[in-house]
């Protein structure tokens, strides 16, 4: 008996080429794009290339920097801030002290790549862990100058000179606040607060003395004791 021949004419036209071409290849089946619902104006499927952000090193190793100067721009922390270097919100490494830039690997367990600022041209980084910091004194000694003790007695009214004083950095001529405060006369209290404390203390002492003389009980306590005794007798 002959096997029945599977005639291709009986198979649907859409399925005809699937056996030949397989599921993944494009050879037989036409690509269909629905142009009606594809927004051609906006680049939804277009290229996503943007302008270069000029990342990377701005100061090379050994260059002198002052505080605030940016050393490295990056996305994420390719480099970590080392000694005397800080890190910004976009992971920019910048100098915190005047010195010379150093690129090095940390001596810790993670062996991170770090950027630091050495304070002298020959100082190598990293420094030994828990070593005392090297610090530079950006000050010079000069003879002592103390502020003049300018003062005015309480109750001095303002003069034309006072109104002409200009504080450096300001455009408005006005007297200092402390000078304004000296205009009013000295405060004269009829009764000082401390006198009040002393008076109440004296009154309290007199009260206690009275109690001691009377036998240690106030009127209230006496009345209470009386009521209690009555109750006890009644019960």
């Amino acid at each position: 008996m002959l096997l029945p021949r599977i005639s291709t004419t009986g198979i649907l036209p859409s399925l005809r080429n699937i056996g030949a071409s397989g599921c993944g290849s494009n050879s037989g089946i036409l690509q269909q794009v629905r142009h009606a619902t594809h927004k051609a104006s906006k680049a939804a499927n277009g290229s996503s290339n943007t302008a270069g952000k000029r990342l990377g090193a701005k100061k090379t190793a050994g260059e002198k920097v002052v505080p605030g100067m940016i050393i490295y721009r990056q996305r994420g922390t390719l480099w970590f801030p080392g000694e005397n270097a800080g890190i910004g919100r976009d992971h920019t490494i910048f100098a915190l002290r005047t010195g010379y830039v150093r690129y090095y690997r940390d001596s810790g367990p993670k062996k991170r790549k770090s950027i630091g600022v050495a304070l002298t041209p020959d100082q190598p980084l990293p420094r030994p862990p828990n070593a005392a910091r090297t610090r530079r004194l950006w000050f010079e000694p000069v003879p002592l100058v103390e502020k003049e003790d300018v003062s005015v007695p309480q109750g001095t009214p303002l003069t034309q000179e006072d109104w002409a004083k200009v504080v450096p950095g300001s455009y408005i001529p006005r007297p200092d606040n402390w000078r304004i405060g000296k205009v009013m006369g000295p405060v004269v209290r009829k009764r000082s607060v401390f006198e009040g404390f002393e008076r109440s203390a004296k009154r309290r002492e007199a009260r206690m003395k009275k109690l001691a003389l009377k036998g240690g009980k106030t009127k209230k306590a006496k009345a209470k004791a009386k009521a209690r005794a009555k109750k006890a007798r009644g019960a």
Binding site: R133, F139, V142
Partner: protein, 369 residues
């Protein structure tokens, strides 16, 4: 059944001044009870007395041990029972120790004996840990420094708040890498300038720190030891060096310290040797603030004062060198800061300190082009 929780009071401040005195040993019979002032208390529960005793009963005090709640009394019984168990164990262990030393010839330095002693100390703590009277005493400031439980509670309280504050001050102000590479404080160092207690890291007035402070060192182990206190200033400006120098302000040695003797320098302190007399902190105008660091060291043995005096140079002093030369071990630290203020000039002139007529002016950095 063993109730072994070492829970101490947290965040309850001492209601009064702490009295560091000796408390009579807790009797083996039972929990220590406060003497109740009224004789009629033996009758029983408060308020249940007769008409004649009614007046007296009303004046009776309620104490922890006589709280008239059945559950509370049952709980106290459980605690008491547990305490007895622990005390029995301690006596048994002590007897075993004695027998071992006598018959097997073990010494007090032997590992087995040492571990038995440690176990006994632990059980002593567990015996008193749940005692409500102990908790009450600690909260009220009635602390017996001869008892291990109070030392344990003090240690716990210190480690909860004041020690983290001290470590934070030391680390954020970079005292720890600058003065010493690392420190693990195990004793509480309290410093009082002109009678006022000072928190670590504060900016103090130069008048307040003109004289040496009262220093208290509270060790939490029941041991006697000899201590050295050293104060260093790591921020002395040196324009020639274009940096900073270290200056020694104060060194006191051979101070006997124990839980019963906590004052190192002060009115109730035992006599000690001042190697370098106290120099008042002074900071010149314009310069940044100076950090004055006090480190308390434990000495291995008594130090020879003349030798030490000769080896210290005030103006060329590093704490690391001092520690390694004299084989000291740091157990506590303290730090305060001083800035130029209106009294600094007169103090420097009074003590003939050089540099009273100098101030510091900032040098501007040259921006590289």
């Amino acid at each position: 059944m063993s109730v072994c929780t070492l829970s101490a009071s947290s965040s309850i401040r001492a209601l009064g001044a702490i009295r560091f005195n000796v408390i009579r040993p807790i009797a083996l019979q039972g929990l220590r009870t406060r003497a109740i002032p009224n004789k009629s208390s033996t009758e029983g529960v408060e308020g249940a007395g007769s008409a004649e005793g009614a007046k007296k009963n009303r004046l009776k005090m309620r104490t922890i041990e006589t709280m008239p709640f059945q559950t509370f009394q049952l709980a106290l019984d459980i605690i008491n029972k547990d305490r007895q168990e622990k005390l029995e164990r301690i006596t048994q262990e002590r007897e075993t120790m004695k027998k071992l030393i006598k018959h097997k010839g073990l010494t007090h330095a032997d590992r087995r004996i040492v571990s038995m002693k440690q176990q006994i100390e632990k059980w002593q703590l567990y015996a008193d840990a749940n005692n409500p009277r102990v908790k009450y005493n600690f909260d009220c400031g009635i602390i017996g420094m001869n008892k291990p439980i109070y030392l344990h509670l003090l240690n716990k309280k210190w480690r909860q708040r004041n020690r983290p504050i001290l470590m934070q001050r030391l680390e954020t102000m970079h005292v720890i890498p600058d003065v010493l590479p690392a420190i693990n404080p195990i004793a509480d160092v309290q410093v009082h300038f002109k009678g006022r207690k000072v928190q670590s890291g504060l900016l103090l007035d130069s008048l307040m720190v003109e004289e040496f402070p009262t220093v208290r060192v509270i060790p939490f182990k029941n041991e006697e030891m000899l201590c050295t206190i050293a104060v260093v200033d790591p921020d002395v400006p040196d324009s020639k060096k274009h940096g900073f120098r270290y200056r020694c302000h104060w060194v006191v040695s051979n101070i006997p310290i124990s839980p019963m003797q906590t004052t190192a320098v002060g009115r109730s302190a035992k006599p000690a040797d001042t190697i370098v007399p106290y120099l008042p902190p002074h900071s010149q105008k314009g310069a940044p603030y100076h950090r004055y660091t006090m480190i308390v060291f434990e000495q291995p043995e008594r130090i020879d004062t003349t030798a030490l005096e000769g080896s210290i140079n005030r103006d060329d002093f590093t704490m690391r060198g001092f520690q390694s030369k004299n084989k000291l071990h740091p157990i506590g630290a303290f730090m305060w800061r001083v800035e130029w203020d209106s009294h600094t000039k007169e103090i420097m002139q009074k003590h003939n300190l050089p540099g009273w007529d100098i101030m510091y002016k900032r040098i501007k950095d040259v921006v590289p082009s």
